[in-house]
């Protein structure tokens, strides 16, 4: 049954220019497999995967390259068939050095031999379905890359009763999720059915922003005769509507407690891309080795929605989309608000790379920061209800204790505060550094406490 869910408006948020028109009407184009692929082993949150291949090995598509190195970790699979050129520390899309497997494709793109017929997943127990999600290397494809199987196994005592499928896609420029919703709405439905079977959730919400009417009608059509309580929630278009905690509030009017997880309010949020990846992993036993990337911006020859293999270098992606046009000023992996500016385009894309944004030099504005004028616009914009102005001043003064007391760890780094700041203060950068420093201090404190306990 489809009901239009109740609509609650989370606090804060901003209205940037969305710039989605250049790619939103373009169907997804599959990109040929490039010659070399650079597959990072730390694409997900948590421990980087442990490589199980070495230089010189021959692999085929879907063969594991690395195994999970802990509970919060994931499998990484070969995106195509070829030879392993190297397993070494390289620059990754996060801007950091990380373990990367370089594969030279042999051009045949052979897959693993199909061992079993497509599984009749409806008869399988939930536990086995989660195992299949883990084996498929599925991670959250909205950007954070949290291993999906961990979310699907809540610890004892936590019950997930609400499943939210995230199709908000509030980042400007990006249209990858939008195209999935239009072109693969049936697959999303299948994904929802699998998730529904695993979690036994009583209520399912599919949240889409109200500036995507075509996606809403496609989903309405696909979910017409869905058995179970389901609502397609048309949420207000604003940034960051698609952030996990904000979306939970929009759908259920429940707030995730400070420092808590969505499961603390009985909710689970999965991106639409993750839902389709789950279908591949469970029904076709096909691991996650490709995703849709929006390559866009005013410095790219031909903006496109590209279906590309993980590990495809940004250089190849740009070449496939008509090369660089004009005078590029910035290359961003992800959207303009939360994406990471790249220092090199010889970097492989990840399972979480939803977009590649090339902005011309004319679009890049470099500001120098000025003192806070106390206008409070950042406070109004903050979706987490923090006080970015005070936080930033405290972090600038290296007063991390006060920053911790002001709950800097609840910052979701959306950048709404910095977008609004008339003094052009680098608020998000301060928050990011502050969060890292506060966590570091916390670890030191715990280590010290542990030592004392041992000594006594």
């Amino acid at each position: 049954m489809i009901t239009l869910g109740a609509l609650f408006n989370p606090r804060g948020g901003i209205h940037p220019a969305y710039h989605k028109d250049s790619t939103e009407s373009l169907p997804v184009e599959a990109m040929p497999v490039p010659k070399s692929l650079y597959v990072a082993l730390n694409q997900h949150l948590g421990a980087p995967s442990k490589p199980v291949v070495k230089k010189g090995d021959v692999v085929v598509r879907g063969q594991p390259l690395a195994e999970p190195a802990g509970y919060v970790s994931s499998w990484v699979h070969a995106p195509t068939s070829g030879v392993i050129r190297s397993v070494e520390s390289r620059l990754t899309a996060s801007g950091q050095l990380g373990p990367v497997v370089e594969i030279e494709a042999d051009g045949r793109d052979e897959g693993l031999p199909c061992t079993s017929a497509p599984a009749e997943w409806r008869n399988l127990p939930a536990r086995e379905l989660v195992e299949m999600v883990l084996a498929g290397g599925v991670i959250g494809m909205g950007g954070a890359g949290f291993p999906t199987q961990v979310k699907l196994l809540p610890p004892q005592g936590k019950v997930i009763h609400t499943l939210i499928i995230n199709g908000a896609e509030c980042e400007p420029y990006l249209t990858a999720d939008y195209r999935i919703m239009i072109e693969q709405s049936e697959k999303i439905r299948q994904g929802v059915e699998i998730l529904h079977r695993i979690l036994n959730a009583t209520k399912v919400f599919i949240a889409v922003e109200d500036n995507k009417p075509a996606a809403i009608s496609a989903l309405e059509k696909a979910f017409r005769d869905f058995a179970g309580e389901l609502a397609i929630v048309v949420v207000k278009t604003k940034y960051p509507q698609g952030a996990e905690k904000q979306l939970i509030y929009s759908c259920t009017r429940r707030e995730v407690p400070s420092g808590g997880l969505p499961m603390d309010v009985g909710a689970l949020v999965e991106n639409v891309g993750t839902a389709t990846a789950i279908v591949d992993a469970v029904v076709a036993h096909r691991p996650l080795v490709e995703r849709i990337v929006t390559v866009t911006g005013d410095a790219i020859g031909q903006p496109k929605n590209v279906l590309a293999r993980t590990g495809t270098s940004f250089r190849d992606l740009i070449a496939f989309c008509g090369g660089i046009r004009g005078n590029p000023g910035k290359v961003i992996c992800g959207g303009p608000m939360m994406g990471v500016a790249q220092s090199s385009i010889d970097v492989g894309m990840n399972k979480t790379t939803s977009g590649l944004l090339l902005l011309s030099r004319a679009q890049i504005q470099q500001y120098s920061s000025m003192p806070c004028i106390g206008c409070g616009r950042c406070v109004q914009a903050c979706p987490s209800g923090l006080l970015p102005c005070f936080l930033s001043e405290n972090i600038e003064a290296e007063n991390y204790g006060e920053a911790e007391a002001l709950n800097v760890l609840d910052c979701i780094e959306c950048g709404a505060c910095a977008f609004e700041c008339p003094a052009h203060r680098p608020l998000v950068q301060h928050m990011r550094m502050g969060k890292a420093k506060v966590l570091q201090r916390r670890r030191q404190r715990e280590a010290k406490a542990g030592q004392k306990e041992k000594a006594s």
């Binding site: 620059l91 801007g95 050095l97 220092s343 990011r432 550094m433 890292a436």
Partner: protein
């Protein structure tokens, strides 16, 4: 008359209070070991906290009352440790003074910047996004986090590279923990031959980004027969636990990564 009464009242109150204080000072006084004050006067009094105590006074009390080691004061060094030893009659342990050194030589002349950096001027903030545009992933970013952490201003940023002045260094090692790339080491001050690079990249990759980086040619390690310099992860590493006297090895380095720098008081880098 009025004036006299007021004077008497104020003066009388003062006298009574003085009497109470005099009695209290006699009966409620706390006995303080005079050595504590003596030792406290010998300490520098800048309360840097590097001895591990909450300031110089606290450290002096711990030396006298609880027998804390007398050579913990880094700014004072052996000089003050000797004085304290003499004043309270304790043998001074002889440890060489440690000084900090930044193991990178890639200043703006040696390293070409690849991209513009417009983020925070702080090393750990830049490290979060992979650096500040200097292409070497291991080298000094020159954003002066160490210099800001130094309590005595012993670190200078020269052409985008941090340099420690060993004569000013007080061995507090605060900079060591601040550097996100772990480039700073504490070494005995008499060591003078250094490999000023921390890059673990292979030679060709180093050459692409830096003209003075270690290319792992192993010439220096061979010249000293692996005694004092050894190869580790594509990098020549000096073993500072043993003195390295053969200065001929410096000339062996084709990249001029090896350098002679004399530490110690009264010597400037």
């Amino acid at each position: 008359m009025e004036l006299l009464i007021q004077t008497l009242i104020i003066g009388g109150t003062g006298l009574v209070c003085a009497a109470i204080l005099a009695v209290a000072a006699r009966f409620l006084s706390v006995h303080e070991d005079p050595r504590v004050e003596a030792v406290g006067n010998l300490l520098p009094g800048i309360n840097c906290g590097t001895c591990g105590f909450a300031g110089c006074g606290e450290y002096a009390r711990d030396i006298v009352l609880h027998g804390a080691p007398i050579n913990l004061c880094k700014p004072g060094g052996s000089e003050i440790a000797a004085k304290i030893g003499a004043s309270i009659g304790v043998q001074v342990p002889t440890d060489e003074r440690q000084v900090a050194i930044v193991l990178c030589k890639g200043d703006d002349g040696a390293v070409k910047r690849g991209v513009d950096y417009n983020g925070l001027l702080d090393c750990s903030a830049a490290q979060q996004i992979g650096g500040n545009g200097k292409p070497c992933r291991y080298g000094c970013m020159g954003l002066a986090s160490c210099a800001r952490s130094c309590p005595v201003g012993a670190i200078e940023i020269r052409k985008g590279l941090a340099i420690v002045h060993p004569d000013l260094c007080i061995s507090c090692a605060k900079c060591v923990s601040v550097c996100p790339r772990k480039l700073i080491r504490m070494i005995p001050e008499s060591r003078s031959i250094h490999v000023l690079c921390s890059s673990m990249d292979r030679g060709p990759d180093v050459r692409k980004v830096c003209s003075v980086g270690c290319i792992a040619c192993t010439l220096c390690a061979k010249a000293v027969n692996n005694q004092g310099i050894s190869m580790k992860n594509n990098l020549a590493v000096v073993d500072y636990s043993v003195p390295l006297s053969d200065e001929g090895v410096i000339a062996k380095c084709p990249q001029h990564t090896l350098e002679k720098r004399v530490g110690g008081k009264g010597v400037c880098a």
